[in-house]
Symmetry: D3
Subunit: 163 residues, 6 copies
């Protein structure tokens, strides 16, 4: 019998973008299950509450039967162990990403040697996309249509009173 | 009749450095007009007020007839449209600059397809120069003579009471 | 009366790709004239002869009235002076490009202080595109449709006998 | 019933190093099958013949039941399709790797949209390791013990007459 | 008579890691004296007080007769002059380090031309190590054993109440 | 009694540039002796013979009493041991340098654990300088005055018949 490979895709998702969905979609095509894990630990005040972030992700991934959305607290490697995951999934867009991601991958491996970090390249059109840039543009009144799911677009406008 | 190419050079300019002036000088030699646009949006508390920053830039660019100094609020691409600009001008010094600048260039192009971001290389001697480093050095009592215009040097000393 | 700004876009163009055309198109929208300058100096044996490369570029830029295609030999800065150019135009795609381009920009500035190197970012879809990759893929029988002009596609197939 | 995920790990392997084996080992822990594919296309004269390279890889991966060693010619994406693979596996060590790998990943995706390139980070101790560096050191009489499998160590010494 | 070369190794050391000790150890093997200089200037609230940081460094470097631990305030180049130092010692791990370090090295050289910044590469196993990552992992309950000296391990557990 | 620290500065020096001399000058100010070691191993045909390269270096470093010029063959770490050196000295100019240099530093450390690679930053004005760029510019008739010692300038002109 074949073992099942579970991949954790961790992040803040404040809010989810189409770049995140692109990586989830790619991840679920090569792993048996992708668990999108929204981090509870917050350094900065998020724009969207944890519940909102989880809900928007769930709505955006409806219909993808091998994708779960969950929240996690504490050390990612512990959460991965709880979920029986052997892969951490990360999108990588640019060189400055790379240094940080490399550092985290090696630290996580040290904390839990059986956990592999796997990097995927997003579609070119999402190369420049990040949650913080989406929020910055939206807060200044710019359109982020096509960069986030429809529900996020609507919620951003409400939140930022720019609609 | 020839169209006029206007380039926007956006930034915080807190304060203007000789590196900024180097880029403005190069920009004005290849574009018909350079509009130095001081950003009103502030994430952090600036050392110099918006008025001070604009005034120091105006004094430093006196005599350059095709350079304007202005302030802008909101989305850069909207401001560029208001000014009839087709170019965003940016100096690029190092690789970590590059990733951020690339991201902004692609986002701005998406927001306004007719606006091109153009990168210029400053003189080598200004490679290591930034407003924040100038402030840090000056606040610790180091000399930044030769790195900023004379007026800025004087104002920094007053502001930081290190003169 | 307004001065005319001429930009030189130098390269091997062995062969021209849609990435090159993207940069030429952007360049001609912000400069008065773009001179595409095919280098006669060859380190390696090109796939296409100098005449073929020039001709394919001419055909691909037909209808762009402010674009010239020319060949040059010797030092780029001398050629630029002959053409009355004040700008060298370069596309920049990735970090490893950046180091090389930076080095050339500073050397060219040293050789001729009035010549500015200007970097433009190509469309995201051409980020991964280069003449050598096009040749490699085509020589292995892969399709490069959409990555090069139709004429180049046809000539590549003839040249590589893969059609 | 679960689909099987096959990952292709392509390269020259001239010769295989412990860094390659590290990536193969990690790859086989998260994918159902890893096909190590030795490239027949050669730009440069290899030190070891294709047969030697394949044989050394087979010997080094004996006992790993879900690892195959094969050779391939022509376009990687075609070979992957023949093998029913949906993943290209690559180790990534440093920033200059990254640019090249990114470019290849995007080109391969364009040639075959269903094929994902997946990057893994090798153990830190193999960060600086490459086949060409191994050959350079060995040819100058330096020890590469611990960097390559025992058989490769022996064959390198014979080949380079440094033993 | 031979002059003595003194190297300053500046930082926050909040707290000292085995990566720092690796660099100090390498530095003291090639310079006559290494002065570890704990910065008094604080942008952010440190986890450990200045006294704690100095004391942990002193304990960790006991037995290294040509290593001093000190604190400094103000401009590093002034402190270096006071100590008769001609070298600033820095570990360099990754590309994003590099840009920042390059900038600081050139600024410090401008402030004091006789002071050379010297970069050393840490052991591979410490490539991913930083004080902030150590604090993040420890605060989430992860083990940092082997990454910091025993005393730091103990103090981290007390401080973070995770022991 | 104080031990003497010897630093090896290895390279092809085909030909020596003012950037090399800048690094030698900095190196000799912080180490007791700098041995400039011209590599006999040649991948490519050099423009200047080994004897010419050594002689030009000797002439350029005359008067620097703690600088030797020598040639070496085989493994750098063995040569360093023969000379009693504990330091390899390297200039580092840009990010792509960095990856290669990092790789070599870690390999050399593995081959000889007591040998530290030390990186220095050249003067900004030499950031873009390399022997190959000097040869390329000179061969196309460009002036490299100020970038190489006077003797090299003269010999380049003779060699390239461009004087």
């Amino acid at each position: 019998m074949k073992r099942e490979i579970v991949a954790i895709y961790p992040g803040s998702f404040d809010p989810v973008t189409n770049g995140h969905l692109d990586i989830i979609s790619r991840g679920r095509s090569i792993f048996d299950r992708v668990v999108v894990a929204v981090s509870v630990n917050q350094e900065k005040t998020p724009l969207f509450s944890l519940d909102e972030r989880v809900q928007m992700l769930r709505n955006a991934t409806t219909g993808w039967d091998n994708v779960d959305v969950d929240r996690f607290e504490g050390l990612l490697v512990n959460y991965a162990a709880d979920r029986g995951a052997s892969v951490i999934l990360r999108g990588i867009r640019a060189v400055t990403d790379f240094d940080y991601e490399f550092q985290m991958a090696l630290m996580n491996r040290r904390l839990q040697g059986k956990l592999e970090t796997v990097f995927l390249v997003p579609a070119e059109k999402y190369t420049y996309l990040s949650s913080s840039l989406v929020k910055e543009v939206a807060s200044l009144g710019g359109s982020v249509e096509g960069l986030v799911p429809a529900e996020v677009l609507q919620k951003l406008q409400l939140k930022l009173k720019t609609g």
